[in-house]
Structures are given as structure tokens and as C-alpha cells.
């Protein structure tokens, strides 16, 4: 119990530092050290958050959500089985060093792609799977309608998030004042809003919409329509293992490409009979692509069969919460989702 916080943070950083040291002892493994580790362990370790719709344990304790399904898809790609994956909730602050130190193989926790994280934290990002923006959650009775109305307010942010930095930028840019309260623990962060310690909290809008539903009186609060930033959320992996990164990349691409072709979990078996050579390659009827990646030739088929295409995943978890596809539509529908060709 003694000095938990200190010890926890010291060990985290020490592990990260240790990894940096040992990483150099071992020659850069050509075959993909992460995949070796995963195969040895028999499971993929995934860092997640806790927000309804995106990642939350259901009544039986099984993780469910949009990001969770991508964890399952990875498990299918590697093991041909959706359940060889361990999800662990970790605070936005703790999970970045945890990824650096190899405690997680991948973060599917709504991490924003930023240049600092790529170059200073040494992360690589897969394709963006959710185009988001930073929002503000506030009590309705404050009568606030836009961020600029919050001049002089006390605003909560979560430590280690892009939101903590964006809100400081926003007030510097607009020349207004605010009092920050920065909290690491997610429960305390929400409690600060409910108890009135802060006038508003700021986070990714995906997070706020989900967290709002968990408040004691959701109807007393509103997520302002304004977005303070661009928050492209993508899977993050530690740098230095290209092969693992590519598996993550193409797992995501497979769900997007399947939607573009209209392949769903229901009709995927019919597509096995397709005459289209591109679809034959995609579903592994022609095994060349699977062999090239070093996975089961039917990996994409297995993913679609079990979790469905991007649209199915979105509709299953986010539609019930009232989410509109918005930017997260296929490029063919005027959105931003675009898979490179499978060839």
C-alpha cells in the first residue's frame, strides 16, 4: 500500500527504460518479435478504456464494443479464434508508457494519432478507425452553448490525454481564462463533474457521449455540438516491429474493404463462390495474400464471418447510442474511410 502512486509510476517508467536498454541487447528480430511473443503467450494483450459502445464489460463480464471487436478481429487474424485476446483497462496516462514497455501489444483505447506520439514516444499507428473531435460536457442549467462561453469556468481534463493540451491551446488562442482541474482516474474525472467541482469536462466526444449515459441524471447534461480539435483514433503499436504493424493495418483494412464490396458476416459464404479474382484473393480462395503475410489464407474471411465488416461493427455498437456515421462513412459515400487495394 505504501506510496502506491509513486511506485506504480516509477515501475512503469523503469520498465520502459529497461525495455529501451534491453531492446538494444537483442539484435533487431527480422521475423517480428511481437508476433513471436504473442504466439508464445497464446494471447494478444490489448489496452482499452471503459466507455459504453466503445469498450465496456457486459453483464456477464465479457468485453463488448466497437474497439473490442477490432481486438477480436486481430485475435482471429493471428489465431483463427476471436477469444485469444486479453483486454485490460488502463488510464489514458498509464497506457502510453505501458505500450512502450511492451505490457500491451496494441492500444485500442481511442488513442489519437499525433506527430509527438510518433516521434517522441516512438509509436506507430494503424489506419484511423474512428474520426472524432474533442467535445465538452456541461450541465444544461449553466446556459452554456459554445466553448467560448466558458470564460472563467473551471474545466476538468484527464491527464495524459490530447484533451488536456487542446483545452490549454483553445483558451490561449481565444485569450480567455479557465481554471484547470486535471485528473487521472476516470471515475474521479466523472465524479468531479457530477459533484460540481468543475463546470465542464472535456474529452473526445466519443468518450463524453458514452460517459454521459452513465451519469446519475444524464438529462441534466449536454455534450456541446462544437468540436475543439481533430481526434483521429487509431490502433497504436510500439515502434520497431513493422510486421506486427502491417498485420494491424490490414486487419482494419479488411473490415473497410469488405464493406466497400458489400461482404457481410451473413453473406460472406456466398462470396466464396465469386468469380471476381480480387474477391477470391481477399477471401483466401486464392491463398497468395495470406501466404505473403504469413497468416491463415482465410484470415480475412474468418474476420468478416465472426465480427463483420466496418459498417456492421459500427451499427452493432454505436448506432444504438445514436451515433451517425458522419466522417466515418466509406469514401464512396463521401466519408473518410478508404482501404488500399488488396493485391
Amino acid at each position: 500500500m505504501k506510496s502506491q502512486g509513486l511506485i506504480r509510476s516509477v515501475t512503469k517508467s523503469a520498465i520502459a527504460a529497461g525495455m529501451l536498454a534491453t531492446a538494444a541487447f537483442s539484435a533487431p528480430a527480422y521475423a517480428g518479435p511481437t508476433l513471436d511473443k504473442i504466439n508464445q503467450r497464446g494471447a494478444i494483450k490489448v489496452g482499452v478504456g471503459t466507455t459504453p459502445g466503445f469498450f465496456a464489460p457486459d453483464s456477464s463480464g465479457k468485453w463488448q464494443g466497437f474497439f473490442i471487436d477490432y481486438g477480436r478481429a486481430l485475435s482471429i487474424a493471428v489465431f483463427g479464434n476471436p477469444d485469444k485476446v486479453e483486454f485490460t483497462n488502463s488510464s489514458p496516462q498509464q497506457r502510453l508508457p505501458a505500450l512502450q514497455s511492451g505490457e500491451f501489444d496494441v492500444l485500442l483505447s481511442g488513442v489519437t494519432v499525433t506527430i509527438t506520439r510518433a516521434f517522441k514516444l516512438g509509436f506507430h499507428f494503424g489506419p484511423t478507425i474512428f474520426y472524432d473531435g474533442q467535445g465538452i460536457l456541461v450541465r444544461k442549467d449553466l446556459g452554456v452553448t459554445k466553448a467560448a462561453d466558458l470564460d472563467g469556468a473551471t474545466i476538468g481534463a484527464q491527464s495524459g490525454t490530447t484533451g488536456e493540451l487542446n483545452v490549454a491551446d483553445f483558451f490561449r488562442k481565444t485569450g480567455k481564462k479557465f481554471t484547470p482541474v486535471t485528473i487521472e482516474d476516470t471515475g474521479q474525472f466523472i465524479a468531479a463533474l457530477e459533484s460540481g467541482r468543475v463546470d465542464a469536462i472535456t474529452q473526445d466526444s466519443s468518450d463524453l457521449v458514452g460517459k454521459r449515459t452513465q451519469l446519475k441524471k444524464p438529462d441534466d447534461y449536454i455534450v456541446l455540438p462544437e468540436r475543439l480539435s481533430k481526434e483521429p483514433l487509431a490502433p497504436a503499436v510500439a515502434g520497431g516491429d513493422d510486421r506486427w504493424l502491417e498485420i494491424v493495418n490490414w486487419t482494419v483494412n479488411a473490415t473497410i474493404q469488405a464493406e466497400e464490396w458489400g461482404i457481410t458476416s451473413k453473406n460472406v459464404d456466398e462470396f466464396l463462390k465469386s468469380e471476381d479474382p480480387a474477391i477470391q484473393r481477399f477471401l483466401g480462395v486464392d491463398p497468395a495474400l495470406g501466404e505473403a503475410i504469413g497468416l491463415d489464407p482465410k484470415w480475412a474471411y474468418n474476420i468478416i464471418k465472426a465480427v463483420g465488416n466496418y459498417g456492421e461493427i459500427f451499427d452493432r455498437h454505436l448506432k444504438p447510442l445514436g451515433w451517425d456515421r458522419g466522417y466515418n462513412r466509406l469514401w464512396t459515400d463521401g466519408g473518410l474511410l478508404y482501404s488500399p487495394p488488396f493485391r
Binding site: G5, L6, S13, A17, T116, S159, D169, E184, S195, G240
Partner: protein, 394 residues
Amino acid sequence: MPIIVTPGPRRPGFHRRLLMWWGNRPLLQVAIIGLLAALFALLATNVGDTMQRIGISPGFDFLWRSTNFEIGESSIPFSASDPYIRAVVVGLINTLKVSLFGCVLATVLGVVIGVAGLSRNLLLAALVRWYIEIIRNTPLLLQLFFWISLAKAFPAPRQASAFFGSIYLTNRGVFVPSIAVEGLPMGVATAVAILIVVYAVLLFTLFRAGRLNSRNAGFSGLALLFAFLALLQLAGADITLEAPALAGFNIRGGYNLTPEFAALLTGLVVKFAAVIAEIVRAGIQSVNRGQWEAARALGLHNSQIMRLVVLPQALRVITPLTTSSYLDLTKDSSLAVAIGYPDLVSIINTTANTTGQSLEALLILIGTYLVINLAVSALMNEYNRRVALKGTSR
């Protein structure tokens, strides 16, 4: 007249001292040191190489870049455009602030509770037992969550009413009037601060030396205060009493004791008062009963016996144990992270996250805690030397 020098024992020569230092097996010593140095060098170059490969440049240059984040609570002015080094100092001051107040208050409360626990009043003694058992057997983190939710249960600023005209108890903390000195150049302010400290030390030394009785010391102190206020006025400073008042979303002005600070302080004090109470009890019980009886025979009454006879002897047991409690308290203050008080650890974590320089951040953290703890230990050891049995060592 010739000066007669009586020869003392001969100082060992350089060669001899070197031998004493090396011990019996100098070669082995050299080999081990060499090996350690080589290992360390290997580790250091490896860390450097890997960081370079990932694209992180090792070094402390980042300390001079802007942080781009805000800090909720700071004793010195801070904004997002200030450099990391300043943020680290803000965190350090916050840690020192809560630890210092924590140690002082926990000691006072701990001594009172420890003494009360030995009371012949059974109800009181039982109450103390309960307090100590409950507090010592629940995790501090849980206690902190309890205190922070209590601190936030006060009314919102808009609903809060003022006590004595200008003291507000709200879920944003306690607001009290503050004395604001404005329009004073930095140099003058520093000079004044230094003068005050020098004068206070002077008064204290005179007082200790018995050259000053407490009444005179009090008067001199007051005189000093007024003299300085007058001086400030002459220097062109505006001295105003700033009363807090509701403005917009928040109460503005005055001094704000935040709920996070209050909860952390309360949690640490309540926890460590229980620890120190146990130490005090053990210390008092370690004093031989004969001492009580002898003192009573001299006609001293109970509180005198405690103050003049028992406690001074008990201090020998109490001091070293309390020292380690102080060190624990300082380290435990890092649980601040969980409830949102920006202590050193929380600032260092954010720094590591936003700069990627986790190794450097870690070094700063370890170095700083080491210095704090060594300083506390040194101070307490000095104090321990004073209360230790005299005569045996001299």
C-alpha cells in the same frame, strides 16, 4: 616566547590512508569497480542507441521548452507557455507544501492521540484504539477517495453563503480573504523577504540564548511587521485586503484552499496521526514506571510528569520511528495523482507523456525524492542526536 606544541597521535600518512581505504584486497576492489563501470557504460550506450533508433534524443533540453499544459494549483505563477522546468518546480512545491503541513499536523495530532490512548478514561482509550485500528487497516487510497468526495459535498459557489462576510466553504474549496501586495518590484520583494528571515532567525537565536523573554520577542516581532508594512507603503506598494466574491462561474479573489489539497492533506494527516500515535504510545510505555513514581514523589502532577520527565525520555524511542513516518508520508503524498492534486509525480508523468523523455523524467523524479528524503533524514538525525542520551557519547 617559544610556542610549545605537544605532539598528538601521528596522522596516518597518505600511503597508509590509501591502504585503509582500499582494504585487504585492492585488486579485487579495482576489478569490481571496473566491471560495474563497464556494465553501466554498456547500459548507457545501449539506452542511448535505442533512443536514437526510435528517434528520441536523450538529454534535458526539453526542460526549456513550453509545456502547453496548464496546472490547476500553483504557488508560483504558471501558464501553458512556461517551460517544463518551471512545471517541475510547481510540482515540487506542491509536494513539499502538502508534506510539510502533513508532517507538522500529523505530529501534533499523533502526540495528542497517543497520549489520550494511555488515558485512564476507558471510553477515551477505547475510542483511540478504534481510530487507530480502522485507519491503519484501510488503504490510504480508499481514504483519499472518501475525503475527496466529502470535500466535494459542499454547496456550489453560486449557492454558498459567506461566513463572517467573506469566508466561503464550497465544493471548489475554501475561500478566505488574502493580503495582496501589488506594484512591488521583484528585487525589493526578495530583499524584504530575506530581511524578514534574517531578523526572525536573529530573534530566535537571542530567545534560545535566553537574552530575550517571550514577551519582548513577541513585541519585537510585531514591531518588525509594522515596520515592514510601513516600508512597503513607502516603496509605493499597494497593500489591499482581498475578499473573495462570486464572479461568473467561480468565486474570485482571496486565498483558495482547493478540495484536492484539503483532501490529500486530511488523508495524510489522519493516516499518519494514527501511525505516530502508536509510536508515541510505544515510546511512553518504554519509559520505566519507576520514573513516574519518582516524579510523583517529587510532588509533580501528571501533566508535568508527562511534559518534564516522561516525554523527553520517550523521545529517544519516538524520534527515529517518526522520521521514517515522515519519509513515508512524503512518499505517500504521490497518491495525489489519483485525486487530481498536481504533485511532483503527476507533473513528471505528464511530462514523460508529452515529451517522451521518460528516462530523464524518471531521473528527475528519483533525484528529487532522494534529496527530499535525505534532507528529512539528516534533519531528523541531527534532532535525534540532541535528544539521545547524553554522557555516554561525550
